[in-house]
C-alpha cells in the first residue's frame, strides 16, 4: 500500500482565466500533481474568506485561489480584491499557526495551462514539506453557530 502523504488542496479557480487554464492543462495532457480539487467560481473576488476557513476546518491542507492576471479581470478588479483579502487572511491565519504557504494566490490566464500546473506542483511539494494540517483532529472546535430564527 502506498502510504505517502498526499496533501489535499482546495482550488478556487476563476471562470474566465484559471478554470480555462486548468481545462487547457488537461487538453494539452500536461502531467501534474493530482492533489488539487478544483472548484469553479465566477471570479477570484467571489471567494469569501469564510470559504477558505471552512476548507481548512474540513480537512484541506492548502487552499489555492487562482484568477486572471492583475489588469485582466473580467470584472475589472475582482482579482485585486482577492489579492487584498488573501494577503490579510494569511496574516490572520499565522496567528492560528497556519503557515502562509498553505494559502496561495496564483495568476493564470486561459492560455497558461502550464503555469497553473506548475503552481499546483509547487504547492503540493511545499505542503508535503509542511506535513498534514488535520485541523479537525488536532483542534478543539466548538459547535457551529446555530441557524438564524425569524423574529
Amino acid at each position: 500500500m502506498n502510504t505517502r502523504y498526499e496533501p489535499v488542496i482546495v482550488g478556487f479557480l476563476c471562470n474566465w482565466c484559471s478554470y480555462r487554464a486548468a481545462d487547457l492543462a488537461g487538453m494539452a495532457r500536461i502531467k501534474y500533481a493530482p492533489n488539487m480539487r478544483a472548484i469553479r467560481v465566477m471570479c477570484s473576488g467571489r471567494v469569501d474568506p469564510q470559504f477558505v476557513l471552512k476548507a481548512f476546518r474540513e480537512g484541506a491542507d492548502g487552499v489555492m485561489i487562482a484568477g486572471c492576471h492583475p489588469g485582466a479581470c473580467h470584472y475589472v478588479e475582482g482579482n485585486i480584491k482577492a489579492l487584498r483579502r488573501v494577503t490579510l487572511l494569511r496574516a490572520l491565519l499565522k496567528q492560528w499557526g497556519i503557515e502562509p504557504e498553505r494559502t496561495r494566490i496564483v495568476w493564470a490566464s486561459a492560455s497558461e495551462g502550464s503555469v497553473l500546473a506548475d503552481a499546483v506542483n509547487h504547492m503540493t511539494e511545499q505542503l508535503c514539506a509542511l506535513g498534514p494540517l488535520k485541523w479537525k483532529q488536532n483542534q478543539c472546535i466548538g459547535q457551529p453557530r446555530p441557524l438564524p430564527v425569524e423574529v
Partner: protein, 342 residues
C-alpha cells in the same frame, strides 16, 4: 393569597460584571422589574446560594439571564443547573453569546495560560513552580477547585439556549425593551418570541445606524486608535481605523463610531454569517489601497503586504468578540490534552 410572581434569576459565569451593571442601568425602571418579578438568584446584588438553586424544583425559574462564557467546570456546572431550573434561559451579553474577550484565549492553550500567569510573568514569584491543581489536601480535609478548560465555550455550546441578547454589555434601552416584552408575556399572556431568536438588536449592520459619511476612500496604512485623531463626521474605516461596523449587528445606535472609536463588534454578526471575523476581514481588505495600475505583479503584492503589515493583531481585532463561534475554533491543542474537556 397574593398571586405568585414570575421568578427571575441572573448569573455570571466567566464575565466582568458589566452585564449586571447594564441591567441596573435601566434606571428607575428596575423598580418595575422588582414589582413584577420575584428575585430568586442574583449573586451580584442579592445573597442567594447555589444550594438554594439546587433546592428549587425543575423549571422553577421563569426567566434566567445568563451572562459570561464557559471557562471552567464550575461555569459549566452552573449553566447546566440553571438550564434545568429555568423555563426560559437567555444568553445575556457577548460572553454567553459569542465568547467575547475571554474566548480570545482560544488562540492559546490552557498550559500556556497557566505557565504565563503562574510562572513567567515578571511580577510573579513562584520558585516552586506551583500550578493550580484540581484538589489540595489541607488539615481540614480535601479542597476541590474547578477544572480550567482548554478552550472557552459559549453558553449555547454547553446547554440549549432559548434567546440571545447580544452586546458587551447589552444596551440598557434594548434590555428594557426585551424585559417589557417578557413582562407582557407573563402578565397579559402575549406570545413570547420564537425560541432561538436574537432579541434586543436589529439585523442590519451598525453602518445602517451610523451617521458618519462613507466616501469609498483607500488607505495606505491602518491606524490604532491612539495613533490618529479621526476627522469628525467621516467614516472611520475610510481613515484607516478598523471599525467593525460593516460586519456587526446593529441595535446600539452606533455608540462607538459616533464618538470616534471604531466599532468593536460586540453585537456579533448578522443572521446568515458564520464567521464575523472573516466578514470583517473582507471589509477591511476592501479599503486597502492597491497601488497604481502601472505596478508589476510583485510590486502590487508588496504594496498590499506593506499596508497589511500596519495591522498588528488581525485575529484579535476581527474576532475580538466572536472567537467562540469562529470557524477555526481553538488553536493548536494537541489531541492528547484535548480529552479533559467534557
Amino acid at each position: 393569597m397574593a398571586i405568585e410572581k414570575p421568578k427571575l434569576a441572573m448569573y455570571w459565569a466567566s464575565s466582568c460584571g458589566g452585564c449586571e451593571i447594564s441591567v441596573l442601568n435601566i434606571g428607575e425602571r428596575i423598580l418595575v422589574v422588582d414589582e413584577v418579578f420575584d428575585l430568586v438568584f442574583f449573586p451580584c446584588i442579592a445573597d442567594f446560594k447555589v444550594n438554594d438553586v439546587k433546592g428549587y424544583p425543575d423549571a422553577y425559574i421563569d426567566l434566567c439571564l445568563f451572562n459570561g462564557a464557559i471557562r471552567n467546570s464550575e461555569n459549566e456546572e452552573m449553566a447546566r443547573l440553571l438550564r434545568q431550573k429555568s423555563k426560559v434561559l437567555v444568553a445575556f451579553g457577548s460572553c454567553a453569546h459569542e465568547g467575547c474577550i475571554p474566548a480570545l484565549s482560544n488562540l492559546t492553550s490552557k498550559q500556556a495560560i497557566l505557565e504565563t500567569v503562574y510562572k513567567d510573568n515578571p511580577s510573579t514569584e513562584n520558585p516552586d513552580g506551583i500550578l493550580p491543581g484540581l484538589t489540595e489536601e489541607v488539615p481540614e480535609g480535601i479542597l476541590e477547585l474547578p477544572d480550567f478548560y482548554n478552550r472557552v465555550k459559549t453558553l449555547d455550546q454547553v446547554v440549549a439556549v432559548d434567546y440571545t441578547l447580544p452586546g458587551c454589555p447589552p444596551e440598557p434601552h434594548q434590555i428594557w425593551a426585551v424585559l417589557q416584552a417578557v413582562i407582557a408575556a407573563f402578565t397579559d399572556g402575549t406570545a413570547l418570541p420564537p425560541p432561538g431568536a436574537i432579541l434586543g438588536a436589529g439585523n442590519k449592520a451598525v453602518c445602517e445606524e451610523c451617521p458618519l459619511a462613507r466616501e469609498e476612500k483607500k488607505i495606505s496604512r491602518f491606524y490604532r486608535p491612539f495613533e490618529i485623531n479621526p476627522k469628525p463626521g467621516k467614516c472611520l474605516l475610510d481613515q484607516g481605523i478598523v471599525c467593525m461596523g460593516p460586519a456587526t449587528r446593529n441595535g446600539c445606535n452606533a455608540l462607538c463610531p459616533v464618538v470616534g472609536m471604531g466599532c468593536r463588534g460586540c453585537y456579533g454578526p448578522m443572521d446568515g454569517v458564520e464567521d464575523q471575523g472573516a466578514k470583517m476581514l473582507s471589509a477591511a481588505a476592501s479599503v486597502i489601497d492597491a497601488g497604481d495600475p502601472s505596478m508589476d505583479e510583485e510590486e502590487l503584492a508588496q504594496a498590499i503586504e506593506d499596508v497589511v503589515a500596519t495591522l498588528p493583531d488581525p485575529a484579535g481585532t476581527f474576532y475580538r468578540f466572536s472567537m467562540g463561534h469562529s470557524l477555526l475554533g481553538g488553536v493548536g491543542i494537541a489531541a492528547s490534552v484535548k480529552g479533559d474537556d467534557p
